[in-house]
């Protein structure tokens, strides 16, 4: 139905010729934009409703004094449902450490939470299909679990700023929300996110549509195909400064894949965009010494590059 609407707009209303590059680009743009916005609104609403049951305070209780390994798995999973933005990374970190969540488990949460975020997932699902979205979730969780276990094993507690250990928290029992409040919260959250990402989504899809219509089909095989050894690390390097633009990046990556970018390279690039973010590192500097931030970035880069090579080897 959406496709016929897009066809109607592109070929009837704008009078473009089907199969022409411009017609193809416009058709693609209309179809993807409408689809993505419908998905964003519906799914973010549902996700927010679920999240209203998992405030960070509750997640903290669930994770406190958990043993490593099991704790890492639980933390990575809770990272998906606990509402989190990089602006609350510091209180979440301090709260976890203060209540006895092991450092490695805390890191599993800090890795999975931004990486397996709902906007990236919806865009991946909508544009690449559920299989690739599922692969992204699965590998993202594994990276978060393994990364956290390694940091835990390295015994890096001394690289956390000392004042963190001196902060004392009180336990607060918050009144449970009513359904009306949950729905209000979810609705407000949808608007917040849409306001934040709509322009990136539109621009991303527009650029994607342009490449879709004009670039030859094997345009990228040589540079970003499975046989170029440097494609994965390069993709990671390019991904780091693009944080918070996952919404705009995914439509572009989608057409890049269509034009020959290898699957592993796509995954590595996406993970670098969401999980290795410069602003978050700067925020985390308030609680972590530079050396620990360096180790964190190092482990994440290696893990992400490994994921890229692995999937290129399997699927390329």
């Amino acid at each position: 139905m959406l496709q016929s609407f897009a066809d109607f707009m592109a070929y009837r209303v704008f009078g473009l010729t089907p199969l022409s590059p411009l017609g193809g680009a416009v058709d693609f743009f209309i179809y993807d934009t409408i689809k993505i916005f419908i998905m964003l609104a519906l799914i973010i609403f549902l996700v927010s409703l679920i999240r209203s049951f998992f405030p960070a305070e509750r997640t903290k209780k669930l994770l406190s004094h958990k043993r490593e390994f099991l704790g890492n798995i639980l933390a990575a999973l809770l990272g998906i449902v606990t509402p989190f933005c990089s602006c609350s990374a510091v209180p979440v970190f301090i709260g976890f450490v203060e209540s006895g969540v092991p450092l490695g488990v805390t890191f599993s949460f800090l890795i999975s939470s931004p990486m397996v975020n709902e906007v990236a997932l919806i865009m991946l699902w909508g544009l690449f299909g559920w299989k690739i979205a599922a692969i992204y979730i699965g590998t993202g969780l594994i990276v978060a679990i393994v990364g956290g276990i390694i940091i835990g094993k390295l015994k890096l507690e001394y690289l956390v700023e000392e004042y963190v250990y001196n902060i004392k928290m009180t336990e607060t029992e918050l009144a449970a929300l009513t359904w009306k409040e949950r729905i209000n919260y979810a609705g407000g959250y949808v608007l917040d996110i849409l306001k934040k990402v709509w322009l990136y989504v539109v621009i991303g899809i527009a650029i994607g549509g342009f490449i879709h219509g004009y670039a030859p089909a094997d345009f990228l095989v040589k540079y970003a195909g499975p046989n170029n050894f440097f494609a994965v690390p390069l993709a990671v390097l390019i991904g780091v400064p693009l944080y918070s633009n996952a919404a705009g990046i995914i439509p572009i990556v989608h057409v890049l894949m269509e034009k020959g970018m290898a699957m592993g390279t796509v995954l590595a690039f996406m993970m670098a965009v969401t999980a290795l973010s410069l602003p978050e590192m700067i925020i985390l500097r308030k609680v972590l010494k530079p050396k620990l931030i360096g180790i964190f970035i190092g482990i994440m880069s290696v893990a992400i590059i490994f994921v890229g090579y692995l999937f290129n080897a399997i699927m390329g």
């Binding site: 509402p83 609350s88 979440v92 001196n166 928290m169 607060t172 918050l174 409040e181």
Partner: protein, 81 residues
Amino acid sequence: MNLKILGTGCSNCAKMEKATREAVAKLGIVADIEKVEDMARIMSYGVMSTPALVVNEEVKITGRVPNVAKIIEILQTELNK
């Protein structure tokens, strides 16, 4: 009445402060409104997701910005105590 807005200076914290001031003005009550940005003090309330609203040293809302009506409701309940 003593009101505190806990937040590290994100945009939602500013929205929370604005909504709180509006609620206080609409109720026409006298309230002492303080914005707490010091991390140790924020954490001492047991709050991990900002912004948060504290009424007479009791945490009422965390991690979201309520609408003005909701804040008025909270303040009214507190007044009737």
